[in-house]
Amino acid sequence: MDNDRLIWMYTQMVRIREFEERVKRTFDEHPGVIRGHTHLADGAEASIVGSLATMQPGDQLMATYRCHGYPITLGTDTKAIMAEIYGRTDGLCGGYGGSMHLADPGRGFLGTSGIVGQGIPQATGVGYAAQIRNRTQPPTVVLCFFGDGASKQGAFHESLNLASLWKLPVVYIMENNNYNVATRSEQEDANAAAGEPLSVKAKAHSMPGVTVDGGDPLAVHATVSEAADRARRGDGPTLVESKVYRLSAHGNLIAPPGVPLHYEEHEAIRVFGNRDEYEAALRGDPVPRFRMQLIEQGVLDVARADEIAQAAREEMDAAVQFALDSPFPAPEAATNFVYA
């Protein structure tokens, strides 16, 4: 991979991190501006960017409610994303979707499911459409993102069976952050409890299953590239388990009433009292880790890295200000877009 591409990847990781920190800080700096649920991708930047860096023209993706990072990487205007999270009329989806339901079909991002695991069948269907298209056009693939918890849904297994049977051009990317909100994987997943990687679930559906360090963007890129190449050749889907550590709590506090919305401590600390685990995760933070790697390799110098960070800060300053300044949708618009 050439240096420009590596720097591009690092830049996207920094932009995602800066964006997510601004979302989190909004609860303190602009109390009441975010009213609903948010779920942050801090800690998953390497996995997101490493995966999306494999995309070719025409490739598509679907994701979950933890969805800010994908459109940021795809080049969607962060002003529109922040405005959507703030519920404003200039939001990416006009304020109809909010933080959990970003979509930018023009860039191949066909939306999300807020219901755990239920976007997987849809991404599979996008893959079915791609398979038909691929007969006559340059082949495209579909990236399907979901969490570890989703792999206990029937929809996950139904979809993987069908995609493997039909050899659909889909890469199933499980971002395994080891927590279902406040339940650890080994408490709810038989494979995890048995000490096996969750990628063994692929075996039941006769497709390759690979586990990769989701904190290493180049490892993720290599793994997803191989899976995407396989899909593009018509050889069918792959399950990639990308091991990440989300650095924030599952989402902002949504109850009880009267308590200001904010992010509590990560569940490792708050629920399990395991500060060591969390601090180890911080030491392995993929963003500074990749920065150090690129500097050590001479791809990036400190001055350039600082410029990237400064540009991200300025971009997200502008995104926050734009979103704060954007008007709310007119109340009478509440009933728009029910029918196409």
Binding site: L92, G111, P121, Q122, G125, G127, A155, L162
Partner: protein
């Protein structure tokens, strides 16, 4: 005109839509083999097994694949073999397909058709006989059609396939093999246009699906008693073409709404509420509802026949509406355990 059964009309409409538009695909369990009712028989031979695709028994994934394929530019027609199985696909229908356009601020759409069938008469017991359409009408973003004859089954299906959003077409297994006169050229019938099947000045009967036949039979019986019943079929429940129904009720002053689903929480409740709001000042009696008892569908023939609402129940409801003498009657009906109005 030509003679076709309801299920042949569906098959002809599917073939017509697939010939006209290569984006139209058919998905479902056994669809390439024709399915249990032969609704898709012959399609795989004409259009190939990629466009007419047998699926695993995975209603959630199959419906979700249709949603995704629709969002990606295809026009899937997915078959859920019995509406009873729609429980397994409801997340895809209710949380995904119905909301894609809205949540994306109009950027996405899911132009899929979900064909399914319900209704009693098959001695098929409680998990293969239900009428669950009311659930679907409660979901903004879904359209719901319920054809009562072969011409409507074909015409509504063609409109559903052309629609830019998700449409559920609820067919009726008891109507599948009834042969009818159907136009040689199948034309789309717009969603949201009711049909008047019989004119009458005394009482309005609004019926759906198989109960449209029941309503026409009831109207014949009532005619023998000197009562002229008007019969209307909304044909689509969502969107609902209220105006002609309300106009009829304003003329007759009395209304019976009839469907095969259990009465409580059925779509008849919505019809009655909308009709009374639109025609309150014209009503001479409460709007009467005909539906099944609040009981799962029994298997044994005698039990199912006792359970199934039909012409006799509609006649009784119409007589009650016509003989309505005021609020004291209300208490009498309730005391008799009927509550049928």
């Amino acid at each position: 005109m030509r003679t076709l059964s309801y299920v042949e009309a569906i098959r002809a409409a599917l073939a017509q839509a697939m010939r006209a538009d290569p984006r139209v695909i058919v998905l479902g369990e056994d669809v390439a083999e024709g399915g249990p009712y032969l609704a898709t028989e012959g399609l795989a031979q004409e259009f190939g097994r990629e466009r007419v695709r047998n699926t695993p028994i995975s209603e959630s994934a199959v419906c979700g694949v249709a949603v995704g394929a629709a969002q990606a530019g295809l026009r899937p027609v997915v078959e859920i073999m019995f509406i009873d199985f729609i429980t397994l696909a409801l997340d895809q229908l209710v949380n995904q397909a119905a909301k894609a356009h809205f949540m994306s601020g109009g950027q996405l759409s899911a132009p899929l058709v979900l064909r399914t069938q319900g209704g009693t008469g098959g001695r098929a017991a409680a998990q293969h006989s239900q009428s669950l359409e009311a659930w679907l009408t409660h979901v903004p973003g879904l359209k719901v059609a319920m054809p009562s004859c072969a011409t409507d089954a074909a015409g509504l299906l063609l409109s559903a396939i052309a629609d830019p959003g998700p449409v559920v077409v609820v067919e009726n297994k008891a109507l599948y093999y009834r042969r009818e006169q159907v136009p040689n050229a199948l034309e789309p019938i717009p969603l949201g246009v009711a049909r008047r099947l019989r004119e009458g000045r005394d009482v309005t009967i609004v019926a759906t699906s198989r109960l449209v036949d029941g309503a026409l039979e009831a109207a014949e019986q009532l005619a023998a008693e000197g009562v002229e019943a008007e019969v209307l079929d909304p044909r689509t429940l969502q969107p609902l073409d209220l105006e002609p129904l309300a106009q009829s009720v304003k003329r007759t002053g009395r209304a019976v709404v009839a469907h095969e689903a259990v009465r409580i929480g059925g779509f008849g409740a919505e019809l009655a509420a909308q009709l009374q709001a639109a025609a309150f000042d014209y009503l001479e009696a409460p709007i009467h509802r005909v539906g099944a008892p609040f009981t799962p569908v029994p298997a044994s023939a005698g039990l199912e026949d006792a359970y199934r609402p039909g012409a006799n129940e509609i006649v009784r409801a119409a007589r009650s509406a016509l003989q309505w003498e005021g609020c004291e009657e209300l208490g009498a009906v309730a005391a008799a355990g009927g509550g049928g109005w």
